[in-house]
Amino acid sequence: MTPPRPALDLSLLPDGGVRWLDASGPNSDIVISTRMRLARNVSGYAFTGRARDGERLRMLAQVRDALGAVPSLSGSLLVRLEELATVDRQLLHERHLVSKELAGLDPQHPIRSGAAVFLGESVGLLVNEEDHLRLQSLRSGFAVPQAFESVHRLDQELGSQVPFAFHREFGFLTACPTNAGTGLRASVLIHLPGLVLTKEIGKVLSGLQQMGLTYRGLYGEGSEVVGNFFQLSNQTTLGRSEEELQDLLVRVVRHVIEREEEARRVLVRDAGYIIEDKLWRAYGTLRYARSLTFDEAMNYLSGVRLAVGLKLITGLSVYTLNKLLIFAQSAHLAHLEQRTLTESETNLARAKYVRQVLVSEGGGVE
């Protein structure tokens, strides 16, 4: 029997949807990506959670009609999530292009009529998520001003076509009061193995919470921290300007990067051979294992990423490691294998995929 062709062709995306992975941005050995998100709602409609099907569809149609006058999204791809199979929705989520809620993968929020995403080059527009509109920009490395500029341009262009809900005192109005005001969530996805290994991470995380930042796992709210990847973002959105929120993130993340670099120096100085052995074992497991769970793969990838950062392993690019981070997830593996996989089949497929990538783009062995 021929397996059904996947309905979603991601090669249609303007930049394949993965330019943010290419490790071309500043500090990309430690910071994988920078994301800026603005929450907006359209006047005249109930918020998504309370809206009826017809209202959500009319809102989507209104936005779609306005996009002709929004250069930031010219040539963007419209994906109607409700029309996709679960595995395709999961694939978009694994690529960080749509949230779990919009993709209907969160058991508390089944897929809604009108759930859609417009995907442009490095920018995207999520429609009918918790808020009507979530404008976002995703960039490689530690690129706060660049990411903000993209999302700000999209905001200005769209806001001059579609009336956003705005209050003189409370700013941009959102379904959850935690997003009101600027609606801006500025975040970085950062890899902090040095701070975890030196057990400094607790102090750093509680310090950044005191500064008004919060941390989450690889996939944002509600996700676990795996593989020492943390998402750091501003905790509050009201009472500070967009510039102040960006400055705060830049200041704190710069400090965290310095602490991570210092921790790595300490590791090499005080426990050089133990660390070297640990990291080579991580590489060996990825290179030869026949079955890998997602958490295992993430943890060993974290080790190899650190080894590349410490120049213990050479010839393996950060881009390759970033790709593994995304492409070794279950929906991607199902697409690769062109069939539905059970959990154990996924683990086998993951080990096979990781081996192949490491062999073809592999690091030097001393």
Partner: protein, 162 residues
């Protein structure tokens, strides 16, 4: 009906199970249901605002805002406490007082100091105010949430347009 499991007590829980497309019905008493891990009490809503909402709940329950429904979407302060989500932009005015306090606790401020915004005044993309579709949706929502006064008003406005 007697419990399918213990065959002693009255069944109070009807459990529908779907295994490999086969539907089976199980009637259980409260005790047997609990033993099988079936929750029989209504779960308390979990949302990220947690304690803060509870604090505001105590404060809000003494104000008149608690009972008043938003005239646009029909949401009440009670709906907000149950879901952690407001119903529409107009809710910010309908619940202004308690929201100001909540925003202050959440953000340390209740005043937006960022970018100002003026919505486009006249444009093809601006929604027609109170279109028949919108009014019908609002009427249906008002009926669903038993906001009968609002429903009657919306019904009259629809009649005028029709």
């Amino acid at each position: 009906m007697i419990c399918d499991n213990c065959k002693e007590r009255d069944a109070v829980v009807n459990l529908t199970r779907i295994v490999d497309n086969a539907v089976t019905q199980l009637h259980l008493c409260e005790k047997c249901a609990a033993e099988k891990g079936v929750e029989t009490t209504v779960a308390v809503a979990q949302h990220p605002l947690g304690d803060i909402l509870q604090a505001v709940q105590q404060q809000a329950s003494t104000t008149s805002e608690d009972a008043a429904a938003c005239s646009f979407c029909g949401a009440t302060a009670r709906d907000f406490r149950a879901t952690g989500r407001l119903g529409c932009p107009h809710c910010y005015d309908a619940m202004e007082k308690s929201l100001r306090e909540l925003l202050r606790r959440l953000h340390g401020s209740s005043r937006h100091v960022g970018q100002r915004y003026d919505a486009p005044v006249t444009h093809v993309a601006t929604p027609k105010p109170d279109s028949i579709h919108d009014l019908r949706d609002r009427l249906q929502r008002a009926v669903d949430t038993e906001q009968f006064e609002l429903a009657a008003e919306l019904r009259d406005r629809i009649k005028v347009i029709e």
